[in-house]
């Protein structure tokens, strides 16, 4: 039986490690955007590489967790939900890495007076992601508090939407080329998308939590 609980502890550890990856990815993403806007290319690239590594690590952990859950037929009632949650979470994790990569490849020229708004947008999106992680941890340990964290994610997601809208309004009222407007808007949309991914995770979490509390 000790071996049995050891296996459980091992997967629990892997889930926690995976969620730590997502938290770290959020922080690296925020820092990466900041470095990009401040023109610190070297620091930006360092963060981007770190984020790439984290994403690969996260992918490996996610596959390992799902394989073990199905191989050892653990949590038969909830593993479908857990699989869905982790897959959505992975989309969010990949979203952070891909967005930094887009910045690296396309080198968008962000207007200096919009820097603060881009930082705020990144901040709101990453906050949504962080609360998604807290909600997911709560799903595993403290089902009652899932709802509170889901509400926080919804708040940050709507904040991100507002900031992104604000950026677009400012951009499209500026006397600059349309291509530049569209390019910058496109990056606001990318950052905002992280909060949308986070919300998709919590949508699944909310349903899974209801199913578990029945």
């Amino acid at each position: 039986m000790a071996v049995f609980f050891k296996r459980t502890k091992e997967i629990e550890g892997e889930i926690d490690e995976y969620l730590d990856c997502v938290i770290q990815a959020g922080l690296l993403f925020k820092q990466g955007i900041k470095h990009y806007l401040e023109g610190q290319q070297e620091d930006f690239e360092r963060h981007m590489k770190q984020l790439d590594n984290l994403e690969s690590q996260g992918d490996k952990l996610q596959h390992d967790i799902i394989n073990k859950l199905y191989l050892h037929t653990l949590i038969p009632e909830a593993r479908g939900d857990v699989l869905g949650i982790l897959e959505c979470m992975d989309t969010a994790l990949n979203g952070t890495a891909e967005t930094l990569h887009e910045f690296y490849v396309e080198i968008p020229e962000i207007l200096p007076d919009l820097h603060k708004l881009y930082l705020d947008l990144a901040d709101a999106s990453v906050s949504a992601l962080e609360h998604t992680v807290t909600a997911t941890r709560a799903y595993f340990r403290d089902i009652k508090s899932v709802r509170d964290h889901v509400a926080k994610v919804a708040y940050y997601e709507s904040e991100a939407d507002k900031i992104a809208d604000h950026i677009k309004k400012i951009l499209f009222r500026k006397e600059i080329e349309l291509s530049r407007k569209i390019h910058q808007r496109y990056f606001a949309l990318h950052i905002e998308k992280i909060s949308d991914f986070a919300e998709q995770v919590t949508d699944r979490l909310a349903v899974a939590a209801i199913k578990r509390s029945e």
Binding site: F4, T8, L74, I75, P76, R141
Partner: protein, 346 residues
């Protein structure tokens, strides 16, 4: 020749193992919380232990209802019960081995002009009504306790799953023990008065003739578990009632408790020694206990989706099963005595 006579009892045992083990391990195996091999091993070992150690109580009550005193009679009574169960199952009518065997014994009483002990009969029949009700009550209380416990402790979902598996194994072992203790009377009870087995000394343990009889019946139950219960377990686990692993634990525990309280001489003595009302030792239906427990869980969750029609079907079985079994038993005894010239009573 004795083995031939025992065949009907052993067949009853086999069908009990094939069907009723699913009431204990069905959900756990159906939902893949426990592997069938593990369930079958635990089920078989504990059914045998329960039957040999604690099987005497319920068998004694059945014996008081009618002491079938010739092996030919025991064979026919068990056969009548088995045929009734088989036939009613085929017609998809609610049936319980416990109720069929009681009817078959009453059939023998009529045929042999033996008086039916009305006191025992009343005790047995009232237990049939009490059994699902008690299971529902146990399940209702256990659901509230489990709910409160799960709310107050913040155990990781995976740890909860591991504890749940362990609990299902433990409660399954208890359930199998209780099933053996309570239901062995259905399988071998009618052979007790006519048992040809002598006491057997194995090292420091002495097995009485009745215990040897029960051991053989329990082996038949174990064979039933290994050979046929897998299919039934998958059906119970997936189709009939979709229980979560936690509710499966509650249902099996409630059912096992009911089977245990109606089989344990120790508990009866304990309650009587403290001037408390004791439970009669009577074989009860594990399937009806499970249905009672599922209703208890549903009531604890607000009573939504409870199929009260099933209670009516159970109640109809309380009347129809013993009557059909009594008639079948009477007719078979007549044939055995007059066509095959078999001594069916002394």
């Amino acid at each position: 020749m004795i083995w031939f006579f025992l065949i009907s009892g052993l067949f009853l045992g086999w069908s009990l193992g094939a069907n009723d083990a699913a009431n204990i391990f069905g959900t756990a195996v159906g939902s893949r919380m426990i592997r069938f091999k593990t369930a079958a091993l635990i089920g078989s070992v504990f059914v045998i232990l329960g039957a040999v150690i604690s099987g005497a109580g319920a068998a004694h009550t059945l014996g008081k209802l009618g002491a079938v005193n010739a092996l030919g009679g025991s064979f026919t009574v068990a056969l009548a019960a088995a045929l009734t169960v088989f036939w009613m199952t085929k017609l998809k009518l609610p049936v319980s081995t416990s109720q069929a065997i009681v009817g078959a014994i009453i059939g023998w009483n009529f045929f042999s002009h033996s008086p039916t002990d009305m006191n025992s009969l009343t005790k047995i029949v009232s237990t049939w009504v009490f059994c699902p009700a008690l299971a529902a009550l146990f399940a209702f209380i256990l659901t509230h306790i489990t709910k409160a416990h799960l709310k107050s402790t913040k155990i990781h979902l995976l740890e909860q799953d591991a504890y749940n598996r362990l609990a299902l194994v433990l409660v399954g072992a208890f359930g199998a023990y209780s099933l053996g203790a309570n239901n062995i009377a259905n399988v071998m009870g009618v052979f007790v008065a006519a048992t040809p087995f002598k006491d057997l000394q194995i090292f420091s343990i002495t097995l009485s003739g009745t215990q040897i009889l029960f051991f053989m019946g329990a082996i038949a139950i174990a064979v039933g578990i290994y050979t046929y219960s897998h299919k039934v377990m998958s059906t119970v686990g997936k189709d009939l009632f979709k229980l979560t692993p936690v509710t499966a634990f509650i249902v099996v525990l409630a059912e096992s408790l009911v089977l245990y309280v109606f089989a344990s001489k120790g508990l009866q003595n304990f309650l009587l020694s403290h001037n408390l009302p004791a439970f009669p030792l009577v074989p009860v239906s594990s399937s009806q206990a499970v249905i009672g427990a599922v209703i208890g869980v549903s009531l604890a969750k607000g009573g939504k989706g409870v199929n009260y029609g099933i209670l009516g079907r159970i109640s109809s079985g309380w009347v129809s099963t013993p009557i059909i079994a009594a008639v079948v038993s009477f007719v078979l005894l007549f044939f055995m005595q007059n066509v095959f010239l078999l001594q069916v009573y002394k």
